[in-house]
């Protein structure tokens, strides 16, 4: 029996390697480039690949911690509002006379504070679902942004601040470098540390984690704090790109970010997914919208395409998992599974 089990595992290993969700994403990614280069003769050059990402990378910073949140089986819909609040506070503080470097730090601090607040409430009241807590704080943070700035815009930042969104080191945009560094850090944190293993564990079974001595509350708070911090970083880059800010910036970012994470193969029921998938999804959606923009297809059609892509990808994922599960299951438990469905 044991031997058979090992054999099963082995065959599963190479199969898993080739039937990974990420491969499909890679194919979609390449396909998009092929289609794009057919659509427009100006598409296929090095500049496209180096310079385009800075037009869509701002929200990608939130995708990284959101991957953690969703692997944990939680959800956070307050990130868009956090971006708005930290951006508004930064602009207001700068206009009130705070030096810009301190204003930037304040921006990150406000983002982290928002995340921390979410995390503490989630940890203190585990009975409440993360969805309702973050819906409430989403309304609250956006509301505070409106209280501060009412219906005005704030801007007038110093010249050097635009470097964050537009500047580049050599030929590579600063934003791309910053994102690459963050992505590597988050990847290592998720896949190479015991903290990352705890995140996966909590996605599978929160209670078992708690009983085996994992400080679940602490992990929830840290992940929320990171989410807030990255929302603050997004606010820095977004504001730099736009040059001014309003209380209604980053409206709907939360759902876009969640869509990217899910498209990247992270299951919302928790415990499944890798950091690589959401990263690919960011670039797939980014280049897709860029390519469609080249041939003058409107942003509204893009909405339809992204929605359809999201649904079909998850459907394919489901069918694939069902099939592999059926093959894996010994006959007795296969029956049990059938009754479960």
């Amino acid at each position: 029996m044991a031997e058979k089990q090992i054999l099963l595992d082995k065959s599963r290993n190479w199969k898993e390697f080739f039937f990974q969700w990420e491969w499909l994403l890679v194919i979609i990614f390449l396909l998009i480039h092929v289609v794009n280069s057919f659509l427009s003769p100006y598409y296929l050059n090095l500049n496209t690949f180096i310079r385009t990402p800075q037009s869509f990378l701002d929200k990608a910073f939130i995708v990284l911690p959101m991957t953690f949140v969703i692997i944990m089986g939680n959800i956070d819909v307050s990130v868009g509002s956090t971006v708005a609040l930290s951006s508004v506070v930064m602009a207001t503080a700068y206009n009130a006379g705070l030096p810009m470097p301190l204003a930037l730090i304040l921006c990150l601090a406000v983002g982290s504070a928002c995340g921390l607040f979410n995390g503490v409430i989630m940890a203190k009241f585990p009975e409440l679902s993360a969805a309702i807590i973050t819906i409430a704080t989403m309304t609250m943070y956006r509301g505070i942004a409106y209280v501060i700035l009412e219906n005005r815009a704030a801007g007038g930042f110093p010249e050097w601040y635009s470097f964050f969104g537009w500047g580049s080191v050599g030929r590579v945009p600063f934003m791309v470098i910053a994102f690459a560094v963050c992505a590597v850090l988050f990847g290592l944190l998720l896949h190479r540390t015991s903290f990352g293993r705890c995140v996966y564990g909590m996605g599978h079974n929160k209670r078992a984690c708690l009983y085996s001595g994992v400080k679940t509350g602490k992990i929830i708070i840290i992940v929320s704090l990171l989410t807030g911090l990255m929302a603050g970083i997004t606010a820095v880059f977004l504001t730099s790109r736009m040059g001014s800010t309003r209380p209604n910036v980053a409206l709907g970012y939360e759902l876009q970010v969640i869509a990217m994470v899910v498209l990247g193969g992270v299951s919302t029921s928790g415990g499944k997914g890798k950091i690589f998938g959401p990263l690919l999804a960011v670039f797939i959606i980014g280049f897709l919208s860029y390519g469609l923009g080249l041939v003058n297809i409107s942003a509204q059609v893009l909405l339809i395409i992204i929605g359809a892509l999201l649904i079909t990808s998850v459907m394919v994922l489901n069918i694939r998992f069902d099939r592999s599960n059926k093959q894996m299951m010994p006959s007795s438990s296969g029956k049990k599974r059938a009754s479960n469905k």
């Binding site: 819906i135 409430a136 943070y141 929605g307």
Partner: protein, 332 residues
């Protein structure tokens, strides 16, 4: 006698509703002291009219949440059904308002059916399926309208009267809401299908084993939600006399918040119609009364968020205390 009162209050469910009711009463008294115009017949009518669309959507969302689902696509569905019906009456002014409503409901049913099939047949998680549909339907709205608005002067007066007209001095919206609540109260509490929704939500496996057509029930719930969102779309356009591509963006979260405030659990299986009436009413009061007592409109959103958060937290604390007391009572 005392015992009976105690028993009827000890249940967490009724306690939550009672708490909400007390909260609404205190809020009303405070507002009434600040501004005596609050509890006048005309203002109450305005308030209820304002809360009616939210209340209609709340019933549908409650059923979806009961089955452990969620529907994020309703904001987009409102926009699409409103846009389609507005375009129809703008192009053909002879169309009867009832027909316009039917067109809107039809659009909503179509969206709901897609949601339902995705969730029940293809096992796509509800939050993903409806998130995807949210994008698709919002995009369709822009495509259908070509990015243009339909404004008040393009709509025939009969169409606008759907929301502004009165029967016996009561606004049509309120009447429609009451009719919907009566129908769905009966449906949810007194028909077999309605009770099966609860069964599927509280324990899907048990429901399946006992022969309840689980998939059909789940599909039905989304179709009903879609139909109500379609209806709400037409009412929305008639009330605000304008159909835009970005109508009701993000409204889904407000509806979910109202429903959860009303005591419906996001994990399925528990919640009552009476609870969501209170939840929707609280939202209506908040948005109607804050301007009356001189709160700047920019403060409203923040106050709304604080109220939702404190309501759910107080609720959890009360529940914990109840459970603690129950344990205490068992000690000798």
């Amino acid at each position: 006698m005392l015992n009976r009162i105690k028993r009827s209050f000890s249940g967490a469910e009724s306690f939550r509703e009672l708490g909400l009711l007390v909260f609404i009463l205190i809020l009303s008294v405070v507002i009434q002291i600040r501004n005596p115009a609050f509890l006048t017949a005309s203002n109450i009518s305005t308030l209820l009219t304002h809360a009616s669309i939210l209340s209609i959507l709340a019933v549908g969302m409650m059923m979806v949440l009961l089955t452990q689902g969620i529907d994020l696509s309703i904001g987009s569905t409102i926009a699409l059904s409103g846009m389609v019906s507005a375009l129809t009456v703008a192009a053909n002014p002879w169309v009867h308002p009832a027909a316009a409503i039917l067109i809107g409901v039809g659009v909503g049913i179509a969206v709901g059916l897609v949601n339902g099939i995705l969730v029940s047949r293809f096992n796509v998680l509800p939050i993903i399926a409806t998130l995807g549909m949210m994008n698709v339907v919002r995009g369709l709205t822009y495509v259908v309208s070509g990015g243009r608005w339909v404004s008040a002067y393009q709509m025939p007066r009969e169409f606008l009267r759907i929301a502004t007209g009165r029967v016996f001095g009561i606004n049509n919206l309120i009447i429609i809401t009451i009719i919907i609540y009566v129908i769905f109260y009966y449906f949810i509490n007194h028909t077999m299908t309605g009770r099966r929704i609860y069964a599927v939500g509280s324990n899907p496996e048990a429901a399946d084993v006992s022969g309840i057509p689980k998939k059909r029930i789940i599909c039905l719930v989304y179709v009903l939600m879609g139909a109500l969102a379609g209806l709400a779309g037409v009412l929305w356009v008639a009330r605000y006399a304008s159909a835009q591509g970005d109508t009701a963006t993000g409204y889904e979260l407000q509806v979910i918040a109202a429903v959860v405030l009303g005591g419906v659990s996001l994990t399925g299986g528990s919640g009552k119609v009476s609870g969501i009436i209170l939840g929707a009413l609280l939202f209506g009061i908040l948005s109607n009364a804050l301007p009356l007592i001189g709160v700047s409109p920019f403060w409203q959103q923040m106050i709304q968020g604080i109220v939702i958060l404190s309501a759910v937290i107080i609720n959890v604390m009360v529940k914990r205390r109840n459970e603690y007391m129950a344990l205490k009572r068992r000690e000798i």
